[in-house]
């Protein structure tokens, strides 16, 4: 186990030394930063109408996934994630470094992969036409399912692909559970590093929003945004999220480990906290967020908050009630700009927080309702907030390294 051989002992600072973003706004830090500053939003309101999704940017996969065979055996969410993970490793300056990658731990937040929609619909149509023999479902699945589809559907195989393509070969863990899985991935990896149980870790997730099977799943709960796009804070009467497509990864490591290899930090990941609000009574999510805020550590006033608020209700209103207690903070909702990328939303927020701190500025508001105010000064602390559309709440404190 890595923990007994760690070079560090006792509490240590956790630095973010690599960021990989491949989103609907573009690939790489500059493309995303520029798009945020230009106020660009990439939303497709036609292909899935009346629903809308934020489609992934088009990239040349070969630069991060050189083997076509590897690309072929992945589905979109795995290609997005493997690509973004590669960007993070490049950003941290560890790509191809077998010594470091061989002991780099990995905590991935993942859902499941695409279904084969044609197979599903073929079976449902045959059923509708009266085919209900006991063996019918079995026969159709045996003949119609692609053997490799399973490898694209299993949650833990994004980690598998990252290990194969990029050689990240320390411990590997895949956390599931929608939005808060992204919080817990960061929480687990950071606490291991802080305690000397790990030196360096890759954390993140990926999500493909262009999936009708996912739209069906969230439509069960009436969570999809319909008909017309609006910023997250302007959806109260028309609640819902627009699914987003993104891969977001960060490399975190102990300060000592980063210094020893001459790596420069984007920011410090000072704390990650999470909880499970019972969500049985109004106000419970607000109370949970209040509690998590109090656990973050010393906060200066006038800072910034990057939230994964989705526009789903009632949780977005509950989060709004919490945010309004911190009116001096500049708030940015990533859901407006990137859509809702589920497990990936929190790692995306961490990446954007670290990027903003390293560039000495917060990106501009994405909303004209007054919910997001300008921030003139250079941020020294950014709180990343994530409250799941159904369950799970989390926060992180990301700070400038001075």
């Amino acid at each position: 186990m890595t923990e007994t051989t760690s070079a560090t002992s006792g509490p240590t600072d956790v630095w973010i030394t690599g960021i990989g973003l491949a989103t609907s706004l573009g690939e790489g830090l500059d493309a995303n930063w520029d798009a945020l500053n230009q106020g660009r939003i990439n939303v497709d309101e036609k292909s899935f109408a009346p629903y809308m999704v934020h489609p992934w940017c088009h990239v040349s996969l070969d630069t991060q996934i050189p083997k076509k065979g590897d690309q072929r055996q992945m589905e979109a969410w795995q290609r997005i994630g493997t690509y973004a993970a590669g960007l993070a490793l490049d950003s941290a300056g560890v790509k191809g470094n077998k010594d470091i990658l061989g002991r780099m731990d990995m905590v991935i937040a993942a859902g499941g992969g695409e279904r084969d929609l044609a197979v599903d619909c073929g079976i449902l149509s045959a059923q509708a036409k009266g085919n209900s023999a006991p063996a019918f479902l079995n026969e159709r699945l045996m003949s119609d399912l692609r053997p490799t589809l399973f490898l694209a559907q299993l949650s833990n195989l994004l980690a598998g692909n990252i290990a194969i393509v990029h050689g990240v070969c320390g411990t590997s863990r895949t956390f599931m559970g929608e939005e808060v899985a992204g919080v817990d991935a960061a929480r687990n990896a950071a606490s291991r590093i802080a305690a000397g149980q790990s030196d360096i870790a890759l954390i993140g997730g990926s999500h493909n929003g262009e999936r009708k099977d996912l739209l069906v799943l969230y439509e069960f709960g009436d969570f999809n945004l319909k008909d017309k796009f609006a910023p997250v804070w302007a959806r109260k009467e028309h609640a819902g999220f627009a699914l987003g497509s993104a891969g977001a990864f960060i490399v975190i490591e102990s300060k000592q480990h980063a210094l020893a290899r001459g790596a420069k930090p984007f920011a410090r990941l000072s704390n990650v906290v999470a909880d499970l609000s019972p969500r049985k009574q109004p106000g419970q999510v607000t109370a949970t967020l209040d509690k998590l805020w109090s656990q973050l550590g010393p906060l200066e006033g006038g800072g910034a908050i990057i939230t994964g608020a989705s526009g789903a209700e009632p949780v977005t209103s509950e989060e709004r009630a919490f945010l309004q207690k911190h009116g001096d903070f500049a708030i940015r909702a990533t859901g407006t700009r990137f859509g809702h990328t589920m497990e990936t939303q929190f790692p995306l927020g961490l990446g954007l927080a670290a990027l903003s701190l390293s560039r000495g500025a917060l990106f501009p508001p994405g909303d004209s309702s007054g919910a997001e105010i300008e921030m003139q000064r250079s941020p020294s602390q950014i709180v990343v907030v994530g409250a799941g559309h159904w369950r799970g709440e989390g926060m992180a404190l990301v700070e400038a390294v001075k």
């Binding site: 590997s172 599931m176 709960g221 989390g394």
Partner: protein, 274 residues
């Protein structure tokens, strides 16, 4: 009193309660009796028609009723049963109030065929595509499907029922998932974040599509007859990659010094956690 430490200065982690539900039965005593008698829990599948399937046997648990049935619902029920046994043995906390976090190894979740077919029937036309499913999915009629088929649903339910603390973690590392759940608990205790952890693994996913998927990867034994080789010294079950329904769970704490025998039992932990 300070907790006992190991040679690295870390808190010693001990197992104080275990529970198990498998195809052999419920509880440690029943499982041990049957296991040492050479029984196998592998049986011919009766949960659904197996016509046209290459593999027709599995280690199913069919004595734990779940209504409405889903693989995820069964996983949840098996996790509950195993946890109840482990907590009873441990005596830790009180009913609905476990003093630590939950680490849950659980199979990936998705909408299953009975529910998908229910939707298909509700569309009410001969040719169905996903736009048709989308059109009828909203409005609250299928809200329970959303909740059931969230990846975090089993953990959220167990966390609420047993009153674990903080954000429960659902994890998958394939066949290492159970070991990872234990590893997460051990690490959390060693970091001093908690004095106890509830580490659960559950899998109730024997369903037609799972069997077909594993079959297409040539991962399942097709030695269907006999499915239950009694008293065979080395039963050729070869179900290693099927979907065993074997939730086992541990609960650990360091708040009290343990007798030497209990401490020695930890020798197996690092191996289990690798």
């Amino acid at each position: 009193m300070a907790a006992p430490r190991d040679n690295f200065g870390r808190p010693i982690v001990v197992v104080t309660g275990m529970g198990i539900v498998t195809s052999l039965g419920t509880g440690k005593a029943d499982n041990w009796t049957r296991l040492t008698a050479g029984e196998s829990g592998i049986r011919t599948i009766t949960r659904f028609p197996t016509d046209s399937l290459k593999t027709t046997m599995a280690g199913t648990v069919d004595f734990a009723p779940v209504e409405p049935f889903s693989s995820t619902g069964l996983s949840e029920r098996l996790g509950e049963m195993a946890t109840e046994e482990a907590l009873a043995q441990s005596g830790i906390g009180s009913k609905g109030d476990f003093p630590g976090p939950l680490f849950l190894a659980v199979a990936p979740v998705e909408v299953e065929w009975p529910q998908r077919m229910e939707l298909g029937r509700a569309v009410g036309q001969p040719d169905i595509d996903y736009n048709d499913l989308l059109r009828i999915s909203g409005g609250g009629k299928y809200a329970s499907f959303h909740d059931r088929f969230m990846f975090g649903s089993v953990a959220a339910h167990l966390a609420e029922k047993f009153g674990t603390k903080g954000s429960p973690i659902s994890l998958s590392t394939a066949c290492a998932s159970g070991a990872t759940a234990i590893q997460l608990g051990v690490e959390a205790i060693r970091r001093g974040e908690t004095d106890a952890a509830l580490c659960v693994a559950t899998d109730g996913t024997v369903n037609p599509e799972t069997l077909v998927r594993f079959s297409l990867l040539s991962a399942l034994s097709t030695q269907n007859e006999p499915p239950r080789p009694r008293r065979s010294r080395f039963p050729r079950i070869a179900m290693v990659s099927s979907s065993p329904k074997a939730p086992a769970r541990w609960c650990s704490k360091v708040s009290k010094p343990r007798p030497p025998a209990a401490r020695r039992s930890l020798a197996c932990w690092p191996a289990a956690a690798n």
